[in-house]
């Protein structure tokens, strides 16, 4: 396989973009990424989107977006892996360039969630429709059951989960495109409305509109363009049972463990070599569980690590979600996996401004779908 690099990025503001369409926001992000990369064409495009059919009544999204981006007749394909759609789209672009089939590929992600759909119902399609959702469970409900099990097994506390939201809002306040550029206190999180016990409103990532795009290219192309880039040193994906109740453990996400093992092996590194990580904090408990399953903390110690500040940007052992994460930056589902790559790119090319982590050489992005039935992990290295 050939070496592959991320050479340009673009994203819209994340939030309630009521005045704008799914086409409009995708084209803005994609156009910015292409201009940023400084390339005169792209060979193909992949777009991650979980459910444009249910959210805005539009399928065949690859063709729609290629048309409005003005890049016909290149191949354009939508990639779907629930909330990991963006990560999966990036992986397809990576593989296409690594294989030698194309030199320059755009990987984007988009979701338009505020156009009036029953969002709770649409998101639940990422779980087992007939044996989970049939009984009324919601996504906050599924992660609440993981939280309850983690609290029961390891003594993880209400305060530890709240500390994840506090940290991510602190980081998100420094992100120009974040949905929430405001800090929250521990008391505000613990006092917010109950959604699915023990998870409260401020434990949950928001409903968002937004788009993100990156341009990936062969290392040869990247070097010729004479601009800053980050090399992709690992791409891994894993699956697990669709229903949470069929897992051997409710407190370990096996797809995350498995994808991480493959990614570390491909990059030939250990967890201690990673300088920062963007994780899929769709709910506060998810960040805690994933930080353990990626090997950064011992099982059951992820909550304590947040409270001790080990995951903060400043003086952190392993800064987690310097972008504000899904929690504060926002979670337009299909765009999330791409936005994580953009944060790594900015950190590794020293463009993250007030969010800049020290010694950012190796960054990891962990994107997952459903209650962990899909997980996509990428590792990028500064050049």
């Amino acid at each position: 396989m050939r070496d592959v690099a991320v050479i340009g990025t673009g994203m819209t503001k994340f939030g309630e973009l009521w005045g704008r369409s799914i086409k409009d926001i995708f084209v803005e992000a994609a156009q910015n990424a292409i201009e940023d990369a400084g390339v005169d064409h792209i060979d193909s495009l992949y777009v991650g989107s979980m459910s444009p059919g249910l959210f805005v009544g539009q399928e065949h999204l690859g063709a729609v977006l290629a048309d409005y981006l003005g890049v016909n007749p290149i191949p354009a394909t939508r990639v779907e892996s629930a909330c990991a759609s963006g990560g999966a789209a990036f992986r397809q672009a990576f593989l296409e360039v690594a294989s030698g089939a194309s030199d320059i590929v755009l990987a984007g992600g988009v979701e338009k969630m505020t156009d009036g759909a029953d969002v709770t119902d649409v998101l639940a399609t990422a779980a087992d429709q007939e044996y989970e959702v049939y009984h009324g469970i919601t996504f906050p409900g599924l992660y609440a059951m993981i939280a309850k099990a983690h609290m029961h097994q390891y003594g993880t506390t209400r305060e530890q989960m709240a500390a994840v939201a506090v940290k991510n809002h602190r980081n998100g306040a420094k992100h120009p495109n974040a949905q929430f550029r405001s800090e929250v206190t521990l008391e505000q999180v613990i006092g917010s409305t109950m959604v699915a016990d023990p998870l409260r409103l401020l434990d949950c990532s928001p409903v968002s509109d937004g788009a993100a795009a990156v341009v990936v290219a062969s290392l040869d192309v990247a070097k010729k363009l004479n601009k800053s880039f980050a090399k992709v040193i690992a791409s891994a994906q894993s699956s697990d049972t669709i229903a949470l109740h069929n897992r051997e453990s409710l407190t370990t996400l096996k797809s995350v463990v498995n994808a991480a093992q493959k990614a570390y092996k491909m990059a030939n590194i250990k967890p201690t070599d990673v300088n920062l990580v963007e994780v899929h904090d769709c709910f506060t408990i998810a960040e805690i569980v994933v930080s353990e399953d990626l090997g950064f903390f011992e099982k059951g110690k992820g909550g304590e690590a947040v409270v001790k500040g080990l995951t903060a940007i400043e003086c952190g052992r392993i800064p987690i979600n310097t972008s504000g994460g899904l929690k504060a930056k926002g979670h337009p589902v299909g765009a999330t996996g791409i936005a994580q790559i953009i944060e790594l790119y900015e950190q590794l090319t020293a463009k993250a401004g007030p969010r800049q982590a020290k010694n950012a050489r190796i960054g990891m992005a962990q994107n997952m779908g459903g209650s962990g039935a899909s997980c996509v992990i990428h590792i990028l290295e500064a050049q």
Binding site: D121, H135, G136, T138, G141, A149, M194, V195, T241, L244
Partner: protein, 129 residues
């Protein structure tokens, strides 16, 4: 829910019928065509135990439109005595007094109403044993 889709699930939902792998003995609910443990393809139909314990649970306070009239309601994962786990509502309880580990029993109940097809959908719910 489309009537055909509901109808074909009746054996599982009404009678708790599962598939037992002839090769390795693994019991799968709902029945499958391939055993994920040993890749076996032959199964016999068995009826699941209707008793078990609560492994984890939540109280859904914000639901999808279809379930919004039922909130708050408890949903949990129940491990039945034969080791099979199912996701189910826990009915007839004070939701704030539930605890992990409680013994429960599955009973036949109405689960949801479907506006479009106009059918009532039944299945299992757990009650405290």
């Amino acid at each position: 829910m489309i009537t055909a889709r509901y109808h074909r699930e009746i054996p599982q939902r009404y009678r708790l019928e599962a598939g037992k792998c002839v090769k390795c003995g693994g019991v799968h609910f709902p029945p499958r065509r391939i055993c994920p443990k040993c890749k076996g393809k032959a199964f016999e139909t068995v009826r699941l135990s209707d008793e078990g314990r609560l492994v984890t649970f939540t109280v859904v306070r914000v639901a999808s439109d279809k379930f919004s009239k039922q909130t708050p309601f408890a949903v949990g994962i129940v491990e039945l005595n034969d080791g099979v786990r199912v996701t189910t509502q826990i009915a007839d309880v004070e939701v704030d007094k539930l605890e992990v580990g409680q013994k429960v029993k599955l009973v036949f109940r109405r689960i949801q109403e479907d506006g479009k097809a106009g059918i009532l959908c039944y299945g299992y719910k757990a009650i405290l044993a």
